[in-house]
């Protein structure tokens, strides 16, 4: 390939108050390649790509596009230079239609919008790349996978030659991921360059033409396809070996910590969200919930944490019904939860780590001095937690919304686990985490299990479910379609239970 590189980033440095997110990073994109950017949580991947797409201005370094040095002062200039980015957190306007989102910011269309023509054009454009979208649909009605397609169409519409996808697969099902990768391959055939950020090793092996590894803000290596192997990549990323803890063979206890009896509830649209759910989780047991996204996982977690009303049936903790309890009473009964939406439901984005860590325990007598908080004592406790759970804080009193995904999750787990729960509900606990953080979270869960905690693990990743769970319940369309022991069951059988019921669901529509 002797065409010039589409993109060259030379010695990019970007500092935020208290952190150097990128430290003299080098990176390039060739025409027709898929370049994977790899690195731990907080290693500066999103920051580097935000520099490339004109969102952040670098403190030092050069951006060279097709041989010309550029200085982006705004995303518009980057878009005009052919750079398009699908951000980790989608940048879509929920109350707009798909078409309105796609044409947003395009100055070449006539002032008076002819939505009909635009929609026709978009349908054609998306079909050409095998991306199914409905231009008239409202964005808030779309699933995550569909939203992502809209983001990609947005970039294609603006004529992007370089397409950056920041952790596109974190929220996708395996089928959707497969589809996405096929689409990306097709796009490289037209000479486009694609950058993909991911934490999943098998995806790197599957799609990467080249890999660049970032560690703590520095680019440590760029490998060609032939040189890529999993061990090396892990080493480059983390700089140390990753400890894998095997599942302890202590059998679960027989205490019924959580019991659901014929639980029904409604979803946000007022339709049946859960139908006739019954199961039991014992002490010292990890009970995995498998299922395709949107099969009632969120509703299930919320019903148990008392965030969602039950229309009929009972939820019991240690044989005591908590069906009519408030969330706080549920907490007092020993229910802890790591929700799906870390910053929205789990943590208070604008408060610092200390305040977030004591959100559940501030009522304890031991942390108080009369009506006031004992700040010296809380700070001490918090410091212990921070070192025990290896939470990396840039500044102790910075709002937690500035933390990277992995650190947010550790913070949340630290708070929930130390609240001495009987039951821990973990919803997608490793979504968006790097391999090291994933291992750490898994080890934490296993450790708590061996201490007698009951864990309800909700995940889309069957590998994770099999690795951790004692028993697996399969959720589909708001029903439990089967409960199997994890050791004596194959992935295929679980997959079938997920699929089977899915087919039924489709035929009833």
């Amino acid at each position: 390939m002797n065409q010039p590189n589409l993109v060259e980033l030379n010695n990019i440095t970007k500092k935020f108050p208290g952190v150097t997110a990128n430290d003299q990073v080098n990176f390039s994109v060739r025409p027709g390649e898929i370049h994977v950017l790899l690195g731990e949580n907080g290693s500066g991947k999103s920051t580097l790509m935000s520099v490339l797409c004109g969102l952040y201005s670098p403190d030092a370094g050069d951006i060279i596009i097709r041989g010309t040095k550029m200085q982006f002062r705004s995303p518009r200039q980057a878009i005009n230079a052919g750079i398009g980015m699908v951000h980790q957190h989608f940048k879509l306007i929920e109350s707009f239609s798909v078409a309105e989102n796609v044409i947003l910011g395009d100055q070449s269309i006539p002032q008076v919008l002819k939505m009909h023509q635009i929609k026709n054009y978009l349908t054609k454009l998306s079909q050409r790349f095998g991306l199914q979208i409905n231009p008239s649909a409202m964005v808030w009605q779309l699933s995550v996978g569909e939203k992502q397609r809209v983001e990609i169409v947005k970039m294609l519409y603006r004529g992007s030659q370089v397409l950056i996808l920041d952790e596109p697969t974190a929220v996708l099902t395996p089928q959707e991921t497969g589809e996405l990768f096929r689409t990306l391959r097709e796009m490289t055939a037209t000479g486009r360059g694609i950058v993909v950020i991911t934490h999943k090793m098998h995806e790197v092996m599957e799609i990467a033409d080249r890999v660049t590894v970032l560690r703590r803000g520095r680019s440590v290596a760029t490998l060609e396809k032939q040189q890529i192997n999993q061990q090396d990549l892990a080493w480059l990323m983390v700089g140390q070996d990753i400890l894998r803890q095997e599942k302890k063979k202590i059998p679960p206890g027989d205490k019924h910590v959580l019991e659901l009896k014929n639980v029904h509830c409604l979803n946000d649209q007022g339709l049946p969200g859960l139908t006739d759910i019954s199961f039991t989780v014992h002490s010292g047991e990890i009970f995995g919930i498998a299922g395709i996204a949107g099969s009632g996982q969120r509703e299930l977690a919320e019903v148990i944490a008392r965030l969602r009303p039950v229309s009929s049936g009972d939820v019991l903790i240690n044989n005591q019904a908590i069906t009519g309890c408030s969330p706080r009473q549920a907490i007092d009964h020993g229910v802890a939860m790591v929700p799906e939406d870390r910053l929205g439901t789990g943590l208070v984005p604008n408060m610092d780590a200390m305040d977030n860590l004591i959100l559940k325990s501030y009522r304890n007598k031991s942390l108080r001095r009369g009506p006031f908080l004992n700040r010296t004592l809380t700070r001490e406790k918090v410091n212990q937690l921070v070192s025990r759970f290896e939470i990396r804080l840039n500044a102790p009193d910075a709002p937690v919304k500035l933390l990277s995904g992995g650190n947010l999750q550790r913070l949340l787990l630290a708070r929930e686990i130390t609240s001495d729960p009987q039951l821990l509900i973990a919803v997608y606990p490793v979504r968006g985490l790097d391999i090291k953080a994933t291992e750490a979270v898994h080890n934490l869960l296993l450790e708590q299990r061996s201490k007698g905690l009951a864990v309800l693990l909700i995940s889309e990743d069957l590998e994770e479910i099999f690795k951790l769970s004692d028993r697996v319940g399969v959720l589909c369309d708001g029903r439990i379609t089967g409960i199997r022991p994890a050791d004596a069951t194959g992935v295929e059988e679980i997959g079938l239970l997920m699929m089977d019921a899915q087919n039924q669901g489709e035929t009833t529509i």
């Binding site: 995303p75 518009r76 951000h87 306007i93 109350s95 947003l104 395009d106 100055q107 006539p110 808030w140």
Partner: protein
């Protein structure tokens, strides 16, 4: 009630509603871009006094109207600078603007209080249209500023919902980060719409001092700016709804006035309360409706935007 009185009340409802309408249209634009401007009352006052002074000195109400527009725009520029560039709290900045406007207009108007305007706006019955029974005298027997608002409302409605620029305006107010990432200049858009909003508020204020009263009195806006702010919610940020909402409030205003002349014995203080009681009722009803449905305020309303902020 005889038909004549009925028609007269409706016609007054329109003139009384027009200053509120202009101010509300301006606030619709500002809030659509994500900036809450509680300085409407202040901007209207400064518009009213500067418009009056200019029209008094030049004996031409049109010059007054233009000056009022500029004055309102200048006031809004201060708000834009504080809230967009310095990212100050929009509520505090807006309240400060209102207090400032009350003081400034009082100071500027000191020597003009109670003076009669030599040449206020005049009623120009529209040929043919004004001869239509009932509708004619209600809608087409007014001054040019009212006719202008008839044009402005559909234009703004079309602009907001059917043009490229309107789409960008709404995007900036819904999700500035998304708009920015698509290459829309969020800062420029917010400055622009806040200033245009101030200009419209200035016109609304001047309408009172150049036609409705027409004279300058201390604090003559008398809370109409606040009604306009409430009306924007009532109108769900839609210019078309703002139109009939304004006339409704204008009608209550006019009714109070008429009842007095008809010798109905209601305390004038009670009548003065009516529009505000109604505002509170409307707010209760509208927020209930908004909670139920998905039509809500622009998502980013009141939030400052910083590109490098997470």
């Amino acid at each position: 009630m005889s038909q004549e009185i009925f028609v007269a009340i409706l016609a007054t409802a329109i003139t009384a509603g027009t200053p509120i309408l202009y101010a509300a249209l301006g606030e619709v634009l500002a809030e659509r871009s994500g900036i809450l401007n509680l300085g409407v009352e202040g901007m209207m006052l400064v518009g009213a006094v500067s418009g009056f002074i200019c029209a008094y000195e030049t004996a031409n109400p049109w010059y007054g109207l233009v000056v009022a527009m500029l004055a309102g725009g200048m006031m809004a520029l201060v708000h834009a600078f504080l809230t967009v560039t310095l990212r100050a709290n929009q509520v505090v900045s807006g309240l400060a603007l209102t207090m400032f406007g009350i003081g400034l207009s009082g100071y500027l108007g000191q020597s003009y209080v109670g003076l009669p305007l030599p040449a206020p706006f005049k009623i120009i019955p529209l040929p043919a249209l004004s001869d239509i029974p009932v509708l004619g005298p209600v809608f087409f027997n007014h001054d040019p500023v009212v006719y202008l608002s008839y044009l402005l409302v559909p234009m703004l409605w079309f602009y907001i919902f059917h043009t490229r620029a309107g789409l960008q305006l709404r995007a900036v107010g819904e999700n500035p980060a998304a708009a920015d990432s698509m290459g829309i200049n969020v800062f420029r858009a917010r400055y622009f719409y806040v200033i245009v909003g101030g200009m419209l508020a200035g016109i609304g204020g001047a309408y009172l001092s150049l036609y409705y009263v027409p004279s300058w009195m201390d604090n003559m806006i008398a809370g109409r700016g606040w009604i306009a702010v409430a009306l924007v919610i009532f109108a769900t940020w839609n210019p078309a709804n703002a139109l009939w909402g304004s006339y409704l409030f204008g009608g209550i205003d006019a009714l109070g006035f008429r009842l007095q002349t008809l010798n109905v014995t209601v305390s004038p203080y009670f009548l003065k309360m009516l529009p505000y009681i109604f505002t509170i009722l409307v707010l209760i009803l509208v927020t209930k409706r908004n909670l139920a449905g998905r039509i809500g305020s622009p998502q980013a309303l009141g939030l400052p935007y910083d590109r490098e902020e997470r």
